[in-house]
């Protein structure tokens, strides 16, 4: 088992240019963006704005944390995210009246997790291609969510929970605390536990992992179940803080999450990656969004800039790794 994991680790610890790049690229990228921001806009380096940056992608960032496990374990990507976000949000608000906010939120989480479990069974146990499986389940679940509410907006009732979700602790919004909390659980889960090692092994070499008695199916399935749960959590939080929800609530979140994970440097092929890197990726995407507005760029340019950064980061990374491989 350790042998399986060793290559990925050793790369990070060695001192080849590639390893240096992959260790330092995220801090450097963040630094560069921060410098650009502070030079270009006087309002950038203010407590308020930096809180905005942290807060901007904290909800969708939760999904990116789960997506890290999907990619690390060789599950490519989960495209059913918007459906699970919608399910989490709509079920919570829909059930609020009959069962109270707390239970309704749990219900929302449960339903979204079920969606994730179905993905897990299809992909982990039936070994269906993740892109197709999650395309299918996403289509079904989003259709169901629209069927549930028709065209309507579901409104929330005032509740202690939603007041809490919108509040700040020690000057930092609860959304950010939740993101930090989840990241603090998931980072060691991937980096230090057997489950984390299984994930890396399954993504690194499926057959070898299977041969060394790693529960390959469970590991892969669990990554999708986790992502379903986190998408649901994202939906529940958004519904409670926004006070209303519609089926379109999570549109595009799958791409934001994938982009954040990829910018963080986790490989789509599986086998290496870290939650901490994804946190970096989430920060970078949030900084891009923030700078576009502060610098007065048109918001249509977001895709252009994000895409270019993805190509740049991944291309350079691939170049160094290839070079390291040849040496």
């Amino acid at each position: 088992m350790n042998q399986l994991v060793a290559p990925a680790r050793s790369l990070d610890k060695s001192t080849t240019p590639g390893a240096l790049f992959s260790t330092l690229s995220i801090p450097i990228a963040i630094l560069v963006l921060v410098v650009i921001g502070s030079v270009a806009s006087p309002s950038f380096l203010t407590v308020n704005n930096l809180t905005n940056v942290l807060n901007a992608n904290s909800a969708v960032g939760l999904i990116a944390l789960g997506m890290t496990f999907v990619m690390v374990s060789g599950g490519l990507a989960d495209l059913s995210v918007p459906a699970n976000v919608a399910m989490g949000a709509l079920v919570t608000l829909g059930a609020q009246e009959s069962m109270g906010t707390g239970l309704a939120a749990l219900m929302g989480l449960l339903v979204a997790s079920m969606g994730g479990v179905v993905n897990g069974i299809l992909i982990g146990y039936l070994r269906i291609n993740p892109i197709i499986a999650t395309l299918g389940t996403g289509s079904v679940l989003l259709g169901l969510s629209q069927l549930l509410v028709g065209g309507g907006i579901v409104y929330a009732q005032p509740s202690a929970l939603s007041t809490f979700v919108k509040s700040s602790i020690l000057g930092i919004p609860v959304f950010i605390w939740i993101f930090i909390f989840v990241a603090l659980i998931l980072h060691p889960l991937l980096a230090r536990t057997s489950f984390g090692r299984w994930s890396l092994a399954v993504g690194g070499n499926y057959q070898a992992a299977q041969a060394s008695a790693v529960p390959v199916r469970f590991t892969k399935a669990a990554a999708f179940a986790m992502t379903g749960f986190l998408a649901g959590l994202c939906g529940v939080l958004l519904a409670l803080s926004n006070g209303q929800a519609r089926p379109i609530i999570g549109t595009g979140y799958e791409f934001v999450a994938i982009t954040a994970v990829v910018i963080g440097g986790t490989s789509v092929f599986g086998g290496n990656g870290s939650v901490l890197r994804t946190v970096g990726g989430v920060l970078i995407t949030a900084l891009i969004g923030n700078l576009i507005i502060l610098l007065g760029f048109p918001s249509q340019a977001t895709g252009l800039i994000t895409g270019a950064i993805v190509l740049g980061a991944v291309g350079i990374d691939a170049y160094f790794r290839r070079k390291a491989g040849r040496l």
Binding site: N129, I132, T137, Q207, F269, G270, A301, L311, G315
Partner: protein
């Protein structure tokens, strides 16, 4: 024994899925609607299938080569706005060619990213999807362009040869030509070899990278064709024309039986998938089934077909095959490291 029969039944169902689906849709449509089984309906289904059809057709060689192209919708939008924008500048036919050329060019960018810079195709084309969708909006300031010569493209969707329209005729011919190329020529067969196992193909002397690059350029060509035809036949170039096209195109290809794992698939299967999906959509629409309910049906169908396929074809290893074929490792890499 019973088990065996069941398996056989399943295998046959998978094998003849397109025929079964088309017949089922015809029966369902015929029973539920008076005016479904008519020449007009057939013509309309074929014509509507054209745009998604071109995209799906372009996607087929990419998937056979074990890659994926998420940027087809953005290429289509770019081609459409180019065509309409260039019409008054360089004339109708050159403008149409320019539209297709833009598709080819973006396809070449994808090829460059995947083959030369070794970026995983899922990531590379996700990036170009974002970049060119964004560029299309920036270039047009988010407004759809109106054609200066709206009459020019009209004949594309006019009646032509009984059940066809000119554009659906071109689509059918393209599907057949691609079938001939894939199945009957050495280069076509090499593509399957590349998709099944790129490094094995490379060591047997096939230029795997060349084939992969070509498949992306081809995908760009077809997306360009789709955008050009769509924009001419609606006399408008919309920057978001292709935004909703990716999922139907992938669905059609997969329903047809081409696998994302690479090494398997056919353009006629894609044609069948496109038609089955188109006929189903039309039958459901004629019955007034809301779009979200249609999405539920389509999603279930996709899961059912792919599960059946997986169960019937039995033995596993598909996921690792996917990775192996997606990764075009440089030869003799000592420790195959999966970079993205």
């Amino acid at each position: 024994m019973k088990n065996f029969d069941f398996a056989l039944l399943g295998a046959r169902a998978v094998q003849y899925r397109l025929v079964i689906m088309l017949v089922a849709v015809a029966v369902f449509g015929g029973l539920s609607l008076d005016d479904f089984l008519t020449v007009n309906t057939l013509q309309s289904v074929l014509d509507r299938a054209t745009v998604v059809g071109f995209l799906a057709l372009g996607l087929t060689p990419v998937l056979i080569a074990g890659q994926i192209d998420l940027s087809i919708g953005s290429m289509m939008s770019m081609a459409g706005i180019t065509t309409i924008f260039m019409q008054p500048v360089i004339g109708n036919v050159p403008a149409a060619a320019a539209g297709v050329a833009v598709g080819i060019l973006i396809g070449a960018v994808n090829a460059l990213m995947v083959v030369v810079f070794k970026i995983n195709s899922l990531v590379a084309t996700l990036a170009t999807l974002l970049i060119f969708a964004s560029l299309a909006l920036l270039l047009t300031n988010s407004y759809p362009l109106s054609s200066e010569d709206p009459i020019f493209g009209l004949p594309l969707t006019a009646d032509f040869l009984w059940i066809l329209t000119p554009r659906s005729a071109i689509f059918l011919i393209a599907a057949v030509l691609m079938f001939v190329w894939l199945k009957l020529t050495p280069t076509g067969r090499n593509l399957y070899a590349v998709g099944s196992d790129a490094s094995a193909a490379t060591s047997s002397g096939i230029n795997a990278n060349g084939y992969i690059a070509a498949s992306f350029v081809l995908s760009g060509f077809f997306a360009g064709l789709a955008g050009m035809m769509q924009s001419l036949s609606t006399a408008a170039g919309s920057p978001v024309a292709g935004a909703v096209m990716l999922i139907p195109a992938i669905t059609a290809v997969v329903i047809g039986g081409t696998r994302l794992e690479g090494g398997r698939g056919s353009s006629l299967a894609t044609l069948g998938g496109v038609l089955a999906l188109g006929a189903l959509t039309t039958a459901l629409e004629y019955n007034g089934v809301p779009s979200y309910t249609q999405a539920i049906y389509t999603g279930l169908l996709l899961i059912l077909l792919i599960s059946l396929d997986r169960i019937v074809s039995g033995h596993g290893g598909a996921s690792s095959r996917a990775q192996r074929s997606v990764r075009v490792a440089p030869r003799n890499t000592p420790l195959p490291r999966r970079n993205a």
